[in-house]
Amino acid sequence: MKKLTLLFLLSICGAYAQKPTTVMVEAESFKNKGGWVVDQQFMDVMGSSFLMAHGMGKPVADASTTVSFPSKGKYKVYVRTRNWSSQWSKKEAAGQFLLSVDGKTLPKTFGKDHAEWAWSEGGTVKISKKEVILSLKDLTGFNGRVDAIIFTNDPAFKPTNDVKALSDFRNDYFGFDRNPKLAGDFDFVVVGGGMAGTCAAIAAARNGVKVALIQNRPVLGGNNSSEVRVHLGGRINLEPYPALGNLVNEIGPKEGGNAQPKDYYEDDKKMNAVLNEPNISLFLNHHANSVETNNGTIESVTATNIETGERVIFKGALFADCTGDGTIGILAGAEYMIGRESQSVYGEPTAPEVADNLTMGASVQWFSETKDTPATFPDIQWALPWDEEKSEEITKGDWEWETGMGLDMKLDFEQIRDYGMLAVYSNWNYLKNHSKNKEKFAKESLRWVAFIAGKRESVRLKGDYVLIEQDLTIPRVYPDGTAPTSWTIDLHYPDPENSKLFPGAAFKSIAKHTKIYPYPIPFRCLYSKNINNLMMAGRDISVSHVALGTVRVMRTTGMMGEVVGMAASVCKKENTTPRGLYQKHFDQLEALMLKGVGDPTLPYIQGYNNGGTLMEIKKK
């Protein structure tokens, strides 16, 4: 914040002081966030991270910060916000909040006006001192959101609602984009700190590679972090590379279960493992969003700090896209695939006859706890229409609370996440306030509802090979096999029952499973076909939609990370690309895979959620 003010002062000092002034404050930069959370999930679409009052029905504590004004006087106030529930209900908005300036609350209630992100006019305030405290007061506890606040005494100024123009305005105002800080020059830049990215970074670092790990959340683990709470699935220590997975065992949680209490996910274990590696520079809270290429080779990646807005540039020889979304690949111009391939593309028996845009969905998981005394929940009017037939008398929403199949997992993701949350609140509201069995739920109180939605599928980057169903089922193994995938081919579809109740907007899913033998994923699926120095690990590797059914589980994505990290060390040593490694130096990768990178002496603690397999014996 200090920095913000300084920059600002620099730009308006001296002769400009008398000119009309406009002061912009990013909500996510508020010094004291109170009970508000920073949400960066949609910044590539709506332009910024923002603060959100995720109180699960209880208003959260105020957020506050200090702002410096260059001159006293009257200012018009604008707040960039939205009414997120209005796309489903014309009733009173779910998320509402107040803004106070220097202790005086503006009369306007925000969060009610418009469905889309836009500037709401907040009236006029009189600024009578240089340093003024702003504070945000949540009124509902239901996800009111604030991106930024603008004060202006320029009668001609009106903030723009065009995302591109607004982004230019921000850049001009804060100056971050013109002047990104150099984070450093690395051998290997890993973007995305889920199991895949975390393992890739550690594996490379332990093999002598200088690594930057960029993660857009304050914790590592991605879907396996306490922010999403999905447990690890699949098997490790399998043929033909039994040492792969030792690192997953080393950093993975010892307890299984989706939507469990926070401790289950052992965020600290992953974090400490990374902090213990002198070769890794860790950049938490950094969202990578632009890429410089030259002739099909990535030269640098730039990331925005999701709290301060500062921009940081990472130069590197090799890059890994472990974002799950293929973000780095797409920005670099990599070929990619999306939705379901038709049967005619790869001849897969399970593929649909006609291609479509159906991906697997995203999940907002949740659970409640039993209190000693009755607990209330507001009788919300904006809930989806609900009745006994729709009512689910449960206290936990697991993986099958899944929605957004058929929508775009990037462009529509705010809507997908919000709908997932709306479904949770609608059912809970019914159980607490209307159900014929509401007595049973009297002492239940929502304990946790995810606001970081878990994704399963967005895009898949194309490699030199695309893994398909028949490879897995025949099975047809290739000499460049690496991490073995062992989970079933597990494909999700909208739950037919739920689809009947919610036509076109199901929020629950069913899974269909086909067992396979553990199958080593070809190395050619782990690097881009047309971007020379880009590898990938995680759910965005080069596989068909059907094959994604097995490879996407996190013990497997973690092992892909181990492999990609090892490959980075071979590429560095031989001064070659991933394709060069495949063509000339695969034996070196083979040797590293046989050796493994995790501590082999640790007790095996990955016995939960291994999934069914055709494998005939248990190794370990």
């Binding site: 209490p261 000499p479 096999g481 939960y608 291994n610 055709l614 494998m615």
Partner: protein, 351 residues
Amino acid sequence: MRWLLAQILLLLTLGSFQMRDHLEEPSFSIKLEDGGRFDVYALKDGNGLLDGYRAHIKAPVCEDRLCYDVNVIFYWNLNGEFLRYEVLPHDPLTKMDHEPFLPEDYKKLQSILTSQDLSFVNIPKDELVTKSDSSEVDGYTGATKLTVKKEVIEGALYTCYTLWHIANGTVVESIKSHTKNAFSKELIRKIIAQDNQTAHYFLINNLNSSQFAENLPEILGLMTSSKGYFSKNTIEKIPKTLFSTEPLQDFIVANYQELDYYTQLAILKKLDNQRQSGSLKQFFIGHIDPKNSFQNQKLIGLVLQNIGPEEFGLLVGQLQATGVGVSEENFQALQQVNEQLKLNISMIQKL
């Protein structure tokens, strides 16, 4: 009606078993965690060969503070896989509140006891139930509810849990070592003839060197029809010394191309420093090919070990004809051999 018939049938068969139990000596007995124990009897086939195992299980189970003794007969195969169970007609299994099992519950129990893919069996017993959600009837709701509930018979969580651990617990290792101690040529052949890859794994993990030697052709035969990583694992288990023998090397020549890549690599590793027949060397030389870039260096290195003039000439010819390059390490070995043979190797490319 059908159920009744099945019960009667059961009664008849059980009658005869129980009589036999009194005549036979148990092969060994197993201690249960709670202090109880049960005897395991070996079963024989018509030829007097070991055929499987049986035990009469009596164990206390409590479902929500209501306790009763389950009373069942368990069967396992030679390598300790649980096969099936039988109930005593006067003693049906029950669920909570002493509700008797329904036909579909008996069926589900069978699939539970034979499954290795269940997650509830890995949860410590005292964590199966979380107390938080006591409003629900099953008594095991709350955090683990959904996953556990889907896997077990409703109202019979502890019956499922206890019986699974008996069926798949320490008895498995005891059965394996009992069968292993009884290994004879006939018994080994009998297991080989079974259509059961787990049993075949049991064999390759437990045969000693002379048993491998004695049954080598049959074991190699299993590889050609196996699935998954069985052939790779078999190669790794066969004693190294057998790799210098003619039958094994002939097998390699005849089957190498049909075997998967990882089995091939395992073979090359096992052949390291073993005497290779002329025909094996020639076979490998013929295999050196630009299409085979993943194996070429391993093949060249192997063939160069103790190579004679005739095969060396062949190798040089193959390298020149195919243009396959040679790694630094292999090139040095090649030059060393050539110090005596003095062929023209100038056309051979280094990698």
